[in-house]
């Protein structure tokens, strides 16, 4: 039966044309479609990239595709961004905000996702649903109640926290806020991946006498690397690109403000700063792209292969 089924498609193909032509064509069609889609998708980014190297005045009078006739090219937009005072500090701050604001929700989210996927407790499904529902809360709504709690109840203002002299403390309100906002998605994504893992895995581990921690760290986490890698990428770049949450909870003080706040100041306070928007956009894109590229090698096939035997 297997042989007959395998023979069928080639017989059909032979009726129309020699097999190798249709095969060749199929292979090229795949590449043409893939490259065509990618180029089309990248076009707006290329437009922005080209514009960022053009003198600003010209971007208002001619399209970016005319850049070669006559050749117009300048580094001015980039040197203006780099000349900005505090840029190094802002860059440092962005890392200090983004790394914990990624690590905390991903880790805590993984703990919770494990419980939602593989432990039994009262109201489990309802709590999980409520979490998914909370994904829909518009963040703008939470700023005022949370901020007034920070300031009035906890006295967590940037100046108070800086006065303690404990390194990293001024960003704690921001880390926790990003964690709270990021958790519903973390838990939702991870719980669905954890749930899909074969239950035989846990049973055989439990028979071997492995504790909950061992199962989590030695089985669940290694098997969920692609899901965790994609979550890390998204959480990191949401935090890295966030302007609003940072502005609300830490404000614009240069010693704590991240890159987005710094660049937003740059483009508004200089009045005609919109010429820097293009170069600033590329400048702040570099780090998320590096994170994406370096985590991409974890998206590989076959992590689950051979994990369950018979």
């Amino acid at each position: 039966m297997t042989v007959a089924a395998a023979a069928q498609p080639s017989a059909v193909a032979a009726r129309f044309s020699p097999g190798w032509i249709s095969q060749l064509l199929q292979r090229y069609i795949l590449h043409i479609v893939v490259i065509g889609l990618t180029v089309g998708w990248t076009l707006p980014t290329i437009g922005l990239l080209v514009s960022s190297f053009r003198p600003f005045a010209l971007t208002k009078t001619s399209g970016w595709w005319t850049v070669l006739t006559p050749l117009q090219f300048t580094f001015q937009n980039y040197t203006d961004v780099l000349a900005q005072s505090n840029l190094g500090q802002a860059f440092f701050n962005s890392f200090m905000v983004s790394i914990p604001a990624t690590v905390i929700p991903v880790t805590i989210g993984a703990f919770a996702a494990y419980a939602f996927a593989w432990m039994k407790f009262p109201a489990r499904n309802w709590i999980f649903l409520a979490l998914v529902g909370l994904l829909a809360v518009p963040l703008q709504l939470t700023f005022i109640p949370v901020l007034s709690f920070y300031v009035n109840q906890l006295h967590w203002t940037t100046s108070n926290l800086e006065a303690t002299g404990i390194p990293g403390l001024p960003w704690v309100p921001l880390w926790l806020a990003h964690a709270g906002y990021g958790l519903p998605f973390s838990i939702y994504l991870l719980a669905n991946f954890f749930r899909a893992l074969p239950s035989d895995l846990f049973e055989s581990a439990e028979i071997d006498g492995a504790g909950t921690l061992t199962v989590f760290f030695r089985i669940i986490l290694p098997l969920s690397v692609p899901a965790i890698a994609s979550l890390v990428i998204f959480q990191f770049l949401w935090v890295w690109n966030d302007l609003l949450v940072a502005l609300i909870y830490v404000g614009g003080a240069p010693e704590v403000a991240p890159l987005t706040v710094n660049l937003a100041d740059l483009t508004t306070s200089l009045g005609q700063g919109s010429n820097l928007l293009t170069s600033a956009a590329f400048f702040s894109m570099v780090v998320p792209l590096i994170v994406f590229l370096s985590l991409q090698r974890y998206f590989v096939r076959g992590i689950l292969a051979g994990s369950v035997k018979g």
Partner: protein, 338 residues
């Protein structure tokens, strides 16, 4: 710019990079240590709460309590006086063009359908196609790139793309340059009310297109991760049995990816309902492109009307309920299969 600043503050660096993970690991190891001290029969009752506890506390503080406060405020005016359903009445007034109706229509019809379906379809097609070429990581990075662009920059890119100049003048917007190249009059993409004043699809689609461009990388990456999770032997077996590529996709890949497609689809539906950035940057809700999240923002910060803003937010939350019911059924089905 002086990059040595990145190393200047070593104590902060240590606290942030080592301290935070150390605290998190210490919490769960310590929690398990305590659970093991409990009598056997109490362990399964306490253990789940150790694992979900920190997440529940943070989510309660940052999302649940503000959401509950919002529901309460949606029945009050700015002075905190109970006004019943008045705030809702003013949002639902003057069907179909007054109150929140335009925003509801845009969210629940235009954004929900076009944004969700196109992003899912693009994400799935790209993940499956890219899986078959050797330069996968290169093309994936290019599709992902818009995700790395901040929402303000994304809006600016697309304002440039859609930029309009009257017929006869030089078009600096990419799309109108293409349109005029084919001897068609340039289109005012962000204002055009085609096909009619009451059903202005075109400019809404222009905004949705920009948003789809920005988010497809998200769908593609997660769907691609799920695709990689499908054991290669399974696909080989199907191919050896003579299944064509389309059949393999339809009968093997698609069903196995279904749980992930539901996750991505649900997330996209919620993103569609709370769409904000693109509208805020590109049209500020003008020309009948208003959406609920922008209307809420506008009522809260510009008009300073807490009650109205809260009512809009509650409408948004209620719109999510059908999605939740769908999810409940979905994960009950997964559990039944175990």
């Amino acid at each position: 710019m002086d990059f040595s600043v990145l190393l200047q503050d070593i104590p902060t660096l240590l606290v942030v990079i080592l301290g935070v993970p150390a605290i998190l690991a210490a919490y769960i190891v310590g929690g398990e240590f305590l659970v093991r001290r409990l009598p056997d029969k109490n362990r399964p009752q306490v253990r789940p709460w150790i694992w979900v506890g920190p997440a529940l506390i943070l989510v309660t503080g940052y999302l649940l309590l503000p959401a509950l406060g919002t529901i309460q405020q949606s029945f009050q005016n700015n002075e905190g006086v109970w006004v019943g359903f008045n705030n809702y009445a003013s949002q639902f007034a003057d069907f179909p063009t007054g109150g929140a109706w335009i925003a509801i229509r845009n969210n629940v019809i235009f954004w929900l359908i076009f944004y969700t379906l196109f992003t899912l379809a693009f994400g799935l097609v790209l993940a499956v196609l890219f899986d078959r070429v050797r330069y996968e990581s290169a093309v994936k990075s290019l599709i992902f790139m818009p995700m790395a662009i901040s929402s303000v920059a994304l809006g600016i890119i697309w304002i440039f793309m859609y930029s309009y100049a009257p017929p006869g003048e030089t078009q600096i917007g990419t799309l109108n340059a293409i349109v005029t190249f084919f001897h068609h009059d340039p289109v005012v993409w962000l204002q055009d009310q085609w096909p009619s004043e009451n059903f202005n699809l075109l400019n809404n689609l222009a905004l949705i297109g920009a948003a789809i461009w920005g988010i497809t990388g998200f769908a593609m990456v997660i769907l691609s991760a799920a695709l990689k999770g499908i054991p290669g032997e399974l696909l080989e077996a199907a191919r050896v049995d003579g299944a064509g590529e389309f059949t393999v996709f339809q009968r093997v890949i698609f069903p196995l990816m279904m749980p992930t497609i539901v996750v991505v689809g649900t997330t996209l539906v919620i993103f569609a309902l709370k769409a904000f950035d693109v509208v805020y940057v590109m049209t500020s809700g003008n020309y009948n492109t208003d959406v609920l999240a922008f209307r809420m923002y506008h009522q809260l910060y510009t008009a300073g009307n807490n009650g109205h803003a809260s009512a809009v937010a509650v409408i948004l939350l209620i719109a999510v309920v059908p999605v939740l019911i769908f999810n409940l059924r979905q994960f009950r089905a997964v559990e039944a299969r175990r």
